[in-house]
């Protein structure tokens, strides 16, 4: 048994406990937190190297063989998601070290527990365990969202908590129905039992599957369920919003997982269950996201709507269902995560410098260090809108190329391209409002100390460099996502890997 599989789950959990022990000292908390995210990146990379050959690593907790015990499963997709999370976390943390973390007592603990929940959700091979990890990451996210307080943040937090509690209830109904009908919660075992379900049970399985899909769509913020996102993300503090850029991707990951594993083409009467829903919902989400971005009156609200739009693009790629489509989506996923996080951090920096206007999109006095901020905002906007030369363009290009094989290709082309155009217009308007139409201030702006400015902008710059890295390494990475996608579309290997020791494959 390969113990690397459980390490990314245990590591942030132990770090969280260690942080609880020393919660009096901020310096201690910062030190442990930095060491923890650095170590986590190492663990994620080791695990990614372990599975890069195509093997699927299974960790049976307590050595209870599947389907009786809970398993953790590391395949290429899970390792890819772990690496993306581990790359995002240090930058969100670095930005928080500037003072966000001092606004309340438990920032670092919640941060590590959020990573614990995220890593667990990516690695688990058990449906109920997935629910538990979802709850862990949500509980941490409630705390992080409310961190620092404020009237608007409390209101957004109340809405966020309520909608997610209702989502959790639906998740339990879905998991309960699947258990009641099929008698198992292990994902690999479920895949076999779903495929073998007799006709009289098929409607119940389909209802449970669609209920599960709507829960994940709620987490991913697909069209009818996206309404919680703009308010929550726009009112979180900058570093928290940047970390939350990965949260919608957990939903997208779960949709991809159940779509390929449980409801693939070989799933008997529940085959292609999500097919009629996923693509139309994703297309509508992309459109509503960019329209929302165009209509936004506040900068951070606009970035939040762009996150909704990016979820739409991502799930269009996943919804194509082909190897090339899923591979394009997996390449686009880290890009959109890093670019959105960078834009959230920059939006926070811009908001701090506009005293009266804050993040309202009105012309105001020229802000301090407008040149540097404007330049970074420009690069981040190019990345988010998907313009060449950055990886957003490559991701969209790969998606469009994969979409050519789909019968709806004219619609897909039209929506993806016009989505890109509208988000470009929205960002161009924002950029010109913030930086060009600024009026000269009454009192001359005092130039900021370069060292403080560098410390503030380093995390966003780092995230943009990651985007540049994705662009430069596009060839090998696209091959990697291709391999991950083809592994996903051959679920028999996953099932075999989980159930082989003593199971009934």
């Amino acid at each position: 048994m390969n113990h690397w599989v459980i390490a990314p789950v245990l590591w942030p959990w132990l770090a969280g406990i260690l942080l609880l022990l020393g919660r009096g000292s901020l310096a201690w908390q910062r030190g442990v937190s930095i060491a923890a995210v650095a170590g986590q990146l190492g663990l994620a990379l080791v695990l990614a190297a372990e599975v890069s050959g195509g093997s699927i690593l299974v960790y049976t907790l307590g050595n209870w063989s599947a389907p009786f015990g809970i398993v953790l499963v590391a395949d290429r997709l899970a390792a890819w998601m772990l690496v993306v999370t581990a790359l995002l976390a240090p930058f969100a943390l670095l930005y928080a070290l500037r003072g966000d973390d001092a606004a309340g007592a438990h920032f670092h603990i919640l941060f590590q527990l959020q990573l614990f929940g995220l890593n667990g959700a990516f690695l688990t091979g058990d449906l109920f365990n997935l629910f538990v990890f979802f709850e862990i990451l949500l509980m941490a996210s409630y705390g992080l969202l409310l961190h620092g307080s404020g009237r608007k943040r409390t209101r957004a937090g109340l809405h966020f908590v309520t909608i997610n509690l209702i989502g959790s209830t639906l998740f339990l109904f879905a998991a309960g129905t699947l258990y009641g009908v099929l008698g198992t919660l292990n994902l690999a075992d479920l895949a076999l039992k779903v495929a073998a379900a007799p006709p009289e049970n098929a409607p119940l399985v389909r209802v449970a599957g669609l209920l599960l899909f709507s829960v994940f769509a709620l987490k991913a913020a697909l069209l009818p369920f996206y309404l919680w996102l703009p308010d929550a993300y726009a009112n979180a503090s900058g570093s928290v919003a940047a970390l939350f850029a990965i949260m919608t991707k957990v939903g997208a990951y779960s949709i991809l997982r159940i779509d390929t594993l449980l409801f693939g083409p070989n799933a008997g009467l529940a085959a292609e269950l999500l097919e009629p829903w996923l693509l139309p919902m994703a297309m509508a989400t992309l459109l509503i996201g960019v329209v929302g971005a165009l209509a936004s009156l506040r900068l951070r609200q606009q970035v939040a709507y762009l996150v909704v739009a990016s979820v739409g693009s991502l799930l269009i790629a996943f919804g194509l269902g082909s190897v090339s489509g899923i591979a394009a989506g997996l390449y686009y996923l880290p890009h959109t995560t890093f670019a959105a996080a960078a834009l959230f951090l920059l939006a926070d920096s811009i908001t701090r410098r506009r005293s009266d206007q804050a993040d309202r999109l009105d012309p105001g006095p020229t802000m301090a260090s407008a040149g540097v901020l404007g330049g970074l905002f420009f690069i981040a906007a190019v990345a988010v809108a998907g313009l060449p030369p950055l990886s957003g363009f490559l991701g969209k290009f790969l998606t469009l190329r994969a979409a050519l094989a789909h019968p709806w290709w004219p619609w897909l082309m039209a929506i993806i391209l016009s989505g890109g155009l509208i988000s470009l217009i929205a960002l161009a308007r924002t950029g010109s409002l913030l930086f060009y139409r600024a009026v000269p201030p009454e009192n001359p702006v005092t130039p900021e100390a370069p060292s403080a400015l560098a410390r503030e902008l380093a995390p966003s710059l780092g995230l943009l460099l990651l985007v540049a890295g994705l662009t430069v390494a596009a060839g090998p990475l696209a091959q990697g996502t291709q391999a991950a996608a083809s592994q996903l579309l051959q679920p028999q290997y996953y099932i075999q890997a989980v159930l082989k020791p003593g199971g009934t494959p």
Binding site: M139, R151, R155, G157, T162, T169, L172, G176, Y179
Partner: protein
């Protein structure tokens, strides 16, 4: 027994959804609580309803009560209990900060 349990789960869910759609935080919290009760009973019934059976297989016993849903319910109860406590504190905080108990902070007398 199945019919009675189904009716109870249905009634709890109906009440939970109705209350969760109210615009005040107190009914909202009650609604979420009722929903969690409903789902706990539902999970419990998913192991099939049995009376007087041993929890694990015993030789000679005519059947057994499925222990997995009971473990699931226990986990779900712990989580929903913690979440209810959290939502109550959050609702109180919202009441204090917004000056009224409307979920959007809008005072409608």
């Amino acid at each position: 027994m199945e019919v009675l349990l189904a009716l109870i789960v249905g009634a709890l869910t109906t009440g939970g959804i109705y209350l969760a759609l109210r615009a005040r935080t107190f009914p909202l919290v009650l609604g979420l609580t009722l929903l969690s009760y409903a789902v706990n009973l539902f999970l419990f019934a998913m192991g099939r309803l049995t009376v007087g059976q041993p929890p694990v297989i015993v030789s000679g016993a005519p059947g057994y009560a499925d222990p997995v849903p009971q473990a699931l319910v226990l986990t779900a109860i712990v989580i929903s209990f913690a979440m209810t406590a959290f939502v109550i504190v959050l609702a109180l905080k919202a009441r204090a900060e917004m000056g009224n108990d409307h979920v959007d902070g809008l005072h409608r007398p």
